[in-house]
Structure formats: C-alpha cells, structure tokens
Amino acid sequence: MSESVKPIPAPKIKNTLDQLKANIGRVIKGKDDVIDQVVVCMLAGGHLLIEDLPGLGKTTLAYCLARSIDCSFSRVQFTSDLLPSDVIGVSVYDEQVKEFVFKRGPIFSNILLADEINRTTPKTQSALLEVMDRGKVSVDGQTYTAAAPFMVFATQNPVDFEGTFPLPESQMDRFLIRMQMGYPDYDKELEILQNSTLRYDSIRPEPVITRKEIQQMQQFVSQVFVEDSLMRYILNIVAKTREENEFRAGVSTRGSLSLKLAAQAAALANGRNFVIPEDITKVILPVFTHRLGLRRQTSDKLEEREIVKGILRKIIDSTPMPV
C-alpha cells in the first residue's frame, strides 16, 4: 500500500512563512517570538488568546497578519451590552424578496479581533466560541459556514477584573494558544516612537501570501510526521500535569491533540516535515498554560500564569526527552 499524499514542500513553506514573519516584523518590532507563535497558531488553524495590558499592539498584530495574508479583518469591541447578533449577524425582513435575509456580522471575516472578550456576557461569548469550535454559524435554522481561513484573536486584560465575565475553563480550552505581548525593548520602542502613528488603519503592510496558499499550508500541517516516541513524550507530559497536585485538573485530551497540532505546525514553520522534540517544548507553554488552573488562590491572573509556567517547566525538565 502506498500513500498517495503529496509530499510536503517544507522548505518552500518555510521560505514563505519567513517572508510573512518579516512582513509583520516590520510593523511589530522586536517581538519575533510572538510573531512566531502567531504564525504557528495560524498555520495550525487555531485561535489565539492574547492576554495582556491594553496598548501593547495586540490589535496591530492581528491587523498586520490579516493584511499580510490577504484576508479580511474585522474588530469587535466586546462590551457588557454586546449581543450575539452583533457578532454573528441578524436576519432582517426584506420587503422586496418578502422573506428574512441574513445580514452577516463581523464573524464572517477571516480574522476577527475580539477585543476584551471577558467584558461581554457569557451568552455572547458562547455564541462566538461555538463558531470558533465548529466553523459554522446557525441562525434561524440556517447554517452558514464561516470564512476560510478563520481565526479569532481574542484579547483579555489580566489585571482589570471589575465587571468582567471571566471565560470558563471549558471555553479557554478552545484557544490553541494563549500568549502575551509584553513591553517592547527600549530601543525598539524608540523606533516605534519615531516611525509609527497611533492608528492601525494607517499601517498598510502589503500581502505576501494569498488566502489560498494559507489554506494549502494548513492542510499540510496534519500530515507532518510525528514519531511514536514523540507522541509518548506528549502523553508523558500530559500525564504528569494530571498527577500534579498544584493543578485543579490536568490537561484534557483536546489539550494533548492541540499540543501535537501546534508542534506539527511549528515543525512545518521550521521547514521540516517531521516533528522533533524541540518543536514540542517550544510550543508547550503557550499551548498548555491557559488550560491549567491552580488549586490555590492567587492575587491576580498574572501571578497564576507565572506559577503555572514554573510548574510546567519543572514537568518538562523531569520528563526524559526521547532520543
């Protein structure tokens, strides 16, 4: 039996993605690792949760990505009075056709920036998350397919919790990666001050990849070869998170699958058609930290995040890497 799959043009993909990263990097300066993670997430077809203070370039990042991959972009500021229909769209009665016509909401763009997702009500949140999960929108018995590629950039402010509806763990699980932007370097920030304006609309990065190419690449990700010992490595780490006393609960099976997918994407982004252990360790923190909650109380989310990271690092160090 021979496998009739197309061989993965890994080096070519790496080239293209390098261009993409460079393109974004021209705007988002000094954040190469963040850009790497965004690209991995995009490649894996996952959704991204950016948890950071306002004003650090989250929106700019999403916008730049959308522009660079020739995709439509929309931004929704989530507020407490936002309704599901504001995101999904609404059916209105068309006088001429004499029936309800569905007016598509911002969710039907390729890249949706859901700003401050924890400010809106659970109802709206769940409407968004359903689309994220299934890639389909059901309104009035009609099912509409979301755009392809479809990627949600959700942001959260980890410090200001007044009047928010924190995402429940089950919904946090749907984001492939959670990451932080962090403050830029002194020099990089100086550069930003010298060159940039405040409004992201004024930034116009040129597209370097077509939407079609992105879709093809996404198909290759699942074909990236993961050797048996690496799967076991993933499972060993996951098993340890489940045994760890500090955590409320371990990583779910969806979590393990996500790690495998992210590792495959990371391998592909590095121009390889197979995964090596370093791919796994590279993505494990952004993929796992938001899936793990501490049993004990912490003063704020930032602290919890750091503690979880610390425990995870310890687990990684104590798990023998396959050789």
């Binding site: 039996m1 070869f225 048996d228 690496l230 058609n273 197979f274 050789v323």
Partner: protein, 755 residues
C-alpha cells in the same frame, strides 16, 4: 515526660567526615576477614591496616600527599599486580586477593567521591565473600555481621551527601580544623532513638538474610566447583615427609585444635589412640625422611570413595554404619590421620588421593587450606601394621643386616632402598662407639628378639633421660641424636624415637619413625575427639620378624609397650574436656556436622558421565568428519565422468537458490517492516532510529557547549547538514528516509575529528 531537645543535624562537611570514617571502618573489617586466609601477605595486610587506621585518626594526612604520587601510583600498581599474577602462577586466588587488598588500600587512603565509595564497597564485599567461601570459618559469621552495618551505614551516608545540592564535590578545607573527639561527640548527638530504631530493624533484617547466606554458602562448595578457587595451604613442617629435629616439638607448643573426630555410634572412645600420619624410614644427617624408594610407591587415585582390600579377618560391609568422621583443619598436612586398617575412605566430593600401600598411608595430593572432611568406615585402632616382608624382589626383611651410611657423603642415602633404609645407621667411629656401648648396656650381651629388645631399650632410654621440650645437646663429633643419647639431657619425643630407632637398627632390628598425633581430649559437650596441635607426636614402628610392624613409643609418659595391659595401666585414661574452650569448639563441630554431606556424589557422577559422553561424541564426530573429508577428496581425485558434472551442476543450483532466497529476504525485510508499522504493529527497536538517536544526542551535547563551526577539512555548514539528516533519520517518517549509512559514517567522522 519528654523534654524537647533541639535536633542536631550534621553539616555537609560533617557528613562527609562521617563517610570517610565509615569507609575506613569498612576497609578494616574486610582486611580482618582476609587475615584468615593463608596468603603469605601478612606484611602487606599489616601495612594496609595500619595506614588505614592512621588516616582514620588523622584524616588530614591524605590531603598532604602530592597529586603526582597518585598519578604515579596507578601505573605502578598495574605493574605490581601484573608481576604478582605472573610470579604466583598457577595460583590465582592469592594474587587476586592481594590485588583487591592493594586497591582497597589505595581507595581508603584517597579522598573519595561517590564513585570511589561504591568501588570501595564492592572491593570490600569481594574480600568478605572470598574469605567466607575459602575459610568456612565460624568467625565469618561475626565478620559479616560487622561488615553489613558498616556497608549499609556507608551507603546511607553517601545517600545523604548525594542528596545535598553540592553533590559529591569534596568540600575544600574539610579536614583543616578536624578534631576526632569533637566529631565523635557530634555523631553521638545526632543519633536519636528513631534513627537507631530504624537502623536496628534494618540490621535485624540483614542479620536474618546474612545468616541465611551464611548457612547456604558452605553448602555450595564453590572452591570445589571452580577449580582455580582451590587455595593451596602450607603444611606444618613437622608433618611433611621430611622433618628435622625439633619440627614436631615446635607444633607441640601450638594449642589450637588440629583434628576433630566423630566416632561411629555405639563405639567407645579409644583410650590414647595413635593417629598415624607419616612414616619416615630414612635417617640421614639429623633429618628423618620418607625415602625416595618408599615415596615411589605413592599411587594417586581420583574418586570420592576409596575401597580398600579387606584386612584379614574382617568382612567388607556395604553401607556400614561404623564410620569415623574426620574434620582435619586446613594447613596441617596433606597426610590423613588414621588409627588403623580400614575398609573405605570417603570424601565430600571427588578428590585426588595418594595411597602408599607399602607404608599404609593415605593423603591428599595437595594440602587443603580449609577444613578437610573425610569419612572412614570399619576402622579398627591397631598397635601393629601388616608388613610386606619381601619387597620388590629384595631379600626378606628379616634377613637384612644393618648398613652404615657415611655422614660426610651427601649421596649416601641414594644407595639403599626401602626396606633396607629401616636398617641404616649413621656410620663413623664416633657414632658407632656410643651406640654399641648403649646396646651393650641394654642387652647385657644377650641376643634379644624385637619385642624384648624394645622393652629393654625403652626402659634404658627412660632411665637415662627425662622429658622436656627444651633440649640442650652437648657438642661433639657424633651425630646429634647419638650425642643426646650419650648425654643425660632431657629430650622430646623426636629424640626418644630417633635414639630408639638408631639403637634398634644397630641391633639388627628394622625400625622406622612415625609421626602423627597421640591421644587427644574428649569433648564433654558434643562427644567427639579433639586433637590439638600439641598432641603432635613421634614414635617408632619395629618389625617383629614375622610380618608385622608393631608400635613402640619410647617417650616417657606413654605406655611401656604396645600391649593392651599397659594401655589400661595408663594414668590418663580419657581426658574429658568441659572447659569454655571446649564449649566453643563444640559449636564449631556442630557447624561442621552441618556442612558435611558425604552423599553429594550423584551430581558429580552425572557430571562426569556427561563429560565422558561429550568426549565420546566429539571423537565420533571427528571420525565422521574425517571420513567425509576423505570421501570428498577421493571424489575429486577420481577421473571426472558424466555423473560428476551432474552433481556439480546440482550443487551450483542449490547454492544459487540459497543466495537468491537470502537476497529475496533482504529485499523484502524493510518492506515487511514498513508495512507492519503501517498496520500499527509496533516494532519498537528500529535500529536506524536507535542509532540516529544516539548520534543526535552527541551532536546536541556539542551544540549546547559551543557550536563547532570550524572543523578541519569540512565546510562550516556541514555540521548542521549532518545534524538535520540525523534528525530526519531519528524522527522523520520511515518512507522519507535518506540512505542512512553514509550519514552515520559522516556523523561519526565529524564527531571523531572534533575529539
């Protein structure tokens, strides 16, 4: 009410010091076990023990030895060990033990890290085990009881030091302000009840286990199972086939037990038995020897059980219960003490045994270093031994006459053979005058038969001399024994026996000296004969002219002659020993009785049968192959006809088919492998992945250190290329693999150039 005492904890430095002390203790205990082996390395042992002890008291000393010493010590040690092995050939055990001893010494004198500590434990364990196996001594129990807690303690302390973050790094300046007293005080403070309790429980467990080991190790006679483990002992000089005056007397000063004998059930303990070991027929220049011609009669047999020709008047009984069991300590003699004619001799396992039918002696071919067990059935204590009156066509012994040997000529004894040797007297006027005068005084001019002469001669000797171990022989020209005879000095058994022998020989009566043990004490605790080294004795055997050698013991204190009435008249009938010493000795016999197992021959027989069968099969096979080869040769040499060619063609076809089959399998193996993988069969050990993985690890280690960008003779990107290829081989899909051999080769080459 309990008072909370603040817990004292040892600092890392103190733990390290404790480790050092425990290690020293461990080495000392194992040196002690080695001391029981006869290795001729007492000096080395003493040096090792003293130096280890000194470094325990002054642990700062090893730090003062310059490093160059240790650098030089290693090659020196290797050379010394090799030389030792070379010179000790064919023995293996003594140089092996010496080697371990040296290594232990080196390890104990150096500051140790974890690895060295482990080595020390292993070396000490080796010493303890080997001495346990070889000595079978009861002290082994005590030694292992000491060794085990030491080793456990050391392991425990190593664990403690290892669990520290600093690992096994030796703390600098550790011994600068070391005070042994203070250290011991601190150590005692740390001991709390809980720790002691745990230690006690653990120790008890170990005691149980080690007692089991202790009981079982002797059951497996390792030293017999493995031939090179046979440690040869050294006989006491008094019990070889050549003794000088004073040799036996020397043994007499040793109070340790040499022989233990279990008597057959129901048999009364013989009073004052003579445990006959060696017959010395030749006397020349102050030494009694077994003559060469008599020694030539030694015959070596190899078996577990030896059945003798029945002595006249007795009947051979199969499975007789009338068995004497002998436990002969190691390093006594290769001759076996025997009290009289017997029917069979049996060992624990197959043994090489030397019998001298002429002199009625039995012995092993080499001296056992450990206890030798043997069992003799249907033995009767006897005062006389059947002689072979006409030996090898010589004249009848009764008709032989005294010969005189010139003491000045060293080759004199070679002129005469047994039994003439029993009538040889040192010649020369000085000797003969004294001897003739003495004979005159004994016989009073009469011609006496052997028995009558013996009685009178013994009386004469006893009237002239007292008994003493301190001998002063007056100077003079004559032979030493003759000079003593002429004096009125007291003497020991050898002198009495020697003098009597010379007198009797000059009177024309064949006489020889016999050595062995006389008497012994009866253990009141476990009912067995204890024969100590101090019971060593020399006496005579006189030919009665009628075919028997009867025993004469001229030494004062022994019976007058060898008749039964005199035996009964002996003042010391049967000494029963109920002292503490006897009690402890009885523990030992309990132990021996447990070890002894004379019925282990079945396995051995089976083994020897296998051996024989194997040899037969081999020779048959050899014949067969030779046959075939000859036939093949003939076939080639014969003129080649049509049938020849057909056969050759047939052969070629078969070979070709085999080759193709192999190739076919070679082609299909990888495919089968891949398919199996595809269908989810987990063929774990993919050798290529495994090997690539190993290389990846080595590359990675290099990458972490500093990326080797410049390697001689390789472009800089070569390293990364090979690394990527290795990654593909290790983690890539099987069907996308590049050819692995050249990659492995290049990777190994790269790693080699880097070294």
């Amino acid at each position: 009410m309990s008072v909370a005492i603040p817990r004292v904890r040892l600092s890392f430095e103190e733990l390290y010091q404790l480790k050092w002390m425990t290690g020293g203790l461990l080495s000392l205990v194992s040196l002690w076990t080695i001391a029981y082996l006869e290795l001729n390395s007492g000096l080395l042992l003493a040096v090792a023990a003293i130096s280890i002890f000194v470094t325990m008291i002054f642990p700062g000393l090893p730090g003062k030895i310059p490093a160059i010493f240790w650098n030089l010590a290693t090659p020196a040690l290797i050379v010394a060990i090799i030389l030792d092995f070379f010179f000790a050939r064919p023995d293996i055990i003594p140089p092996l033990v010496r080697m371990v001893l040296l290594l232990v010494m080196v390890r104990s004198l150096q500051y140790r890290r974890k690895r060295e500590d482990m080595q020390l434990i292993l070396l000490c364990l080796f010493m303890v085990v080997i001495s346990g196996v070889l000595t079978l001594s009861l002290t082994f129990a005590l030694q292992i009881l000491l060794f085990t807690p030491c080793a456990m303690g050391l392991l425990f302390v190593i664990n403690l030091t290892e669990s520290n973050d600093r690992g096994s790094q030796v703390p600098p300046g550790l011994w600068d302000e070391f005070n042994l007293g203070h250290f011991l005080k601190r150590t005692v403070l740390v001991l709390d009840m809980r720790l002691l309790g745990f230690a006690a429980v653990l120790f008890l467990g170990v005691v149980v286990v080690s007692s089991l080991i202790f009981l079982f190790i002797p059951r497996f006679r390792l030293d017999q199972a493995i031939p090179f483990l046979n440690l040869k002992g050294k006989a006491r000089s008094g019990f070889t086939d050549s003794i000088n005056f004073g040799d036996v007397a020397e043994i007499i000063e040793d109070d340790s037990v040499a022989l233990r004998v279990d008597l057959p059930e129901g048999r009364e303990a013989p009073v004052n038995p003579y445990w006959r070991m060696i017959v010395l027929d030749e006397y020349f220049n102050r030494s009694f020897r077994m003559s060469f011609s008599a020694k030539r009669e030694n015959r070596i047999y190899s078996d577990q059980q030896f059945i003798m020709k029945s002595p006249p008047g007795s009947q051979w009984v199969e499975n007789s219960t009338d068995k004497w069991t002998f436990y002969l300590e190691g390093g006594i003699s290769k001759f076996l003490p025997i009290v009289g004619p017997f029917q069979s001799l049996r060992f624990q396992s197959r043994k090489d045994v030397e019998f001298n039918e002429l002199l009625k002696l039995a012995g092993t071919t080499s001296i056992s270093s450990g206890v030798l067990f043997y069992q003799i059935s249907q033995m009767e204590p006897a005062d006389s031994i059947a002689a072979n009156p006409i030996f090898r066509g010589a004249k009848p012994l009764a008709e032989m006459e005294t010969v005189f040997l010139d003491p000045a000529k060293s080759k004199e004894p070679k002129k005469i053979t047994y039994p003439q040797t029993t009538l040889a007297v040192p010649g020369g006027m000085a000797n003969l005058e004294i001897l003739t005068a003495a004979i005159g005084r004994i016989t009073g001019g009469e011609t006496l038969g052997p028995r009558e002469f013996s009685i009178r001669a013994v009386d004469y000797l006893r009237s002239q001399h007292g008994y003493s171990l301190n001998v002063a022989i007056p100077p003079g020209e004559a032979d030493e024994v003759v000079r003593w005879l002429d004096s009125t000095q007291p003497g020991h058994c050898e002198l009495f026996a020697g003098s009597f022998t010379l007198l009797a020989r000059l009177a024309g009566i064949p006489t020889r000296v016999v050595t062995g043990f006389q008497g012994g004490t009866w253990s009141g605790f476990e009912n067995y004969y204890m024969i100590r080294n101090r019971d060593a004795h020399a006496w005579c055997e006189v030919y009665d002219g009628e075919g028997k050698w009867f025993r004469v013991d001229p030494t004062p204190g022994a019976g007058r002659l060898s008749d039964n009435e005199n035996f009964a008249a002996l003042q010391n009938k049967l000494t029963i020993d109920t002292s503490w010493g006897a009690y402890f000795d009885s523990l030992r016999i309990l132990w021996y009785r447990r070890i002894v197992n004379f019925d282990k021959d079945q396995q051995e027989e089976l083994a020897s049968k296998f051996k024989i069968a194997g040899a037969e099969t081999m020779s048959t096979l050899k014949l067969l192959i030779n046959d075939r080869m000859d036939a093949l040769k003939n076939w080639f040499v014969q003129p080649w006809g049509g049938s020849h060619w057909v056969r050759v063609g047939y052969l070629i076809l078969v070979f070709a088919a085999c080759y193709l089959l192999l190739r076919y399998i070679g082609w299909w193996l990888p495919i089968i492998y891949r398919e199996a993988k595809f269908f989810g069969l987990d063929l774990k050990s993919d050798p290529i992945r495994k090997k690539a993985g190993k290389l990846v690890v080595r590359f990675r280690a290099r990458n972490n250190e500093n990326k080797p960008h410049e390697i001689e003779g390789h472009p800089p990107e070569h390293w990364d290329q090979i690394y990527d290829q290795l990654l593909i081989l290790r983690f890539g899909a099987t069907h996308q693999r590049p050819p692995h051999r050249p990659i492995f080769r290049q990777a190994q080459k790269l790693l080699k150039t880097l070294k």
